[in-house]
Point group: C2
Chain length 185, copies 2
DNA sequence: TACTCACTAGACCGATCGGTCTACCGAGGT
DNA sequence: ACCTCGGTAGACCGATCGGTCTAGTGAGTA
């Protein structure tokens, strides 16, 4: 794994856990065992550019996982509920430090780091399309699958936020139930 | 308004807009027109303590507003939908810089600032109870109003996050519809 | 007047921030 | 052998971070 790769990977991990501002370049470089010079060679625009790249990677990785979960289950509903359970497991296993990998960064960036914010928006957009596409495919007659997808994503994001702060997976369990209501109720 | 008051007020405003790490003491002190010494007189534990106080204030303020909205509408459903619309208005009016006033801080604090994180948790708890209480009162037979309240709060928080990042109130409009489904569907 | 004490005022601290700069290394081409 | 050049290495920069410290101020009390 080359230096650039290691830097992106480390940054991604740190962004997911502690967000943008709490992640210093010194920490990234130490964990990636890379010198400072390499950072500005690979990312001429500096920290924000590297973070944007890391966010895109996190987004794609989770996008693929999401796709897989949805394809691996008989219907969208159970697929989404299994996603909620996956997040619950991840939260507990990480002592409530790993929720949505980009949420913290997305909020931090939203009014001072346009490039980073754009990367986050792009990631959310992708997740929404994955979900909407699967909805369209399973339920051809549903109107506005994008809206349904966005609503479910909102619910999951919100419950991840509450769960993390509360240090309890209850909000995710509630969301799991609510997903059923939203899709079929 | 005394010095302490001004500091809390300024901190609250800045936390809502830019979060915890992006809010430096220098900025707070400048905007509050207070000297550095006063900060550590009023908040011996420093920045985190002051931020926790500001978060509690933000929480109570929004809690009261929430209560008022719910009491001022004929039923919980229309009350909550009006809350969603209020947030949509606020987001647009602020050029998408003002969503949930504590969400950014809550995520940032969740794994490195326990006192601050606790204040955030407390705030979310309060909002949940306000909503649950109103639910219990309007629909005595509903089971687990706390769960319903938490679910709706998750949905609103998530849609505020998406809306802010997307710079569009669409997610909030979708949430408004979904609130109806969750409560009555 | 003299003493107290809650509070203001801001100089100062070491640490860390993100970013720049120059020197260097080493594989590939000629 | 020599040069080029993609990339490493890390010293160094000014700015800013949160926090500490001492001096001073001013209203209240005896």
């Amino acid at each position: 794994m080359d230096t650039r790769e290691r830097m992106v990977e480390v940054t991604a991990r740190l962004l997911a856990r502690q967000g943008y501002h709490a992640t210093g370049l010194a920490q990234v470089l130490a964990e990636a065992e890379a010198p400072r010079g390499s950072l500005y060679f690979h990312f001429p625009e500096g920290k924000e550019q590297m973070a944007a790249e890391a966010v895109r990677r996190l987004g794609e990785r989770l996008g693929v996982a999401l796709q897989a979960k949805l394809d691996g289950k008989p219907d969208v509903r159970s697929g989404l509920q299994s996603v909620a359970r996956m997040f619950a497991r991840q939260l507990e296993a990480s002592d409530f430090t790993l929720g949505c990998p980009v949420a913290t960064t997305a909020l931090e960036a939203s009014d001072e780091a346009p490039a980073l914010s754009a990367a986050c928006a792009q990631v959310f957009e992708r997740w929404t399309s994955v979900l909407a596409e699967r909805l369209r495919q399973e339920r051809p007659r549903v109107t506005a699958p994008e809206r349904v997808a966005r609503t479910v994503l909102s619910l999951i994001e919100g419950s991840l936020l509450l769960a993390r702060v509360r240090r309890s997976v209850e909000p995710l369990k509630d969301a799991e139930v609510a997903i059923g209501t939203l899709l079929d109720g």
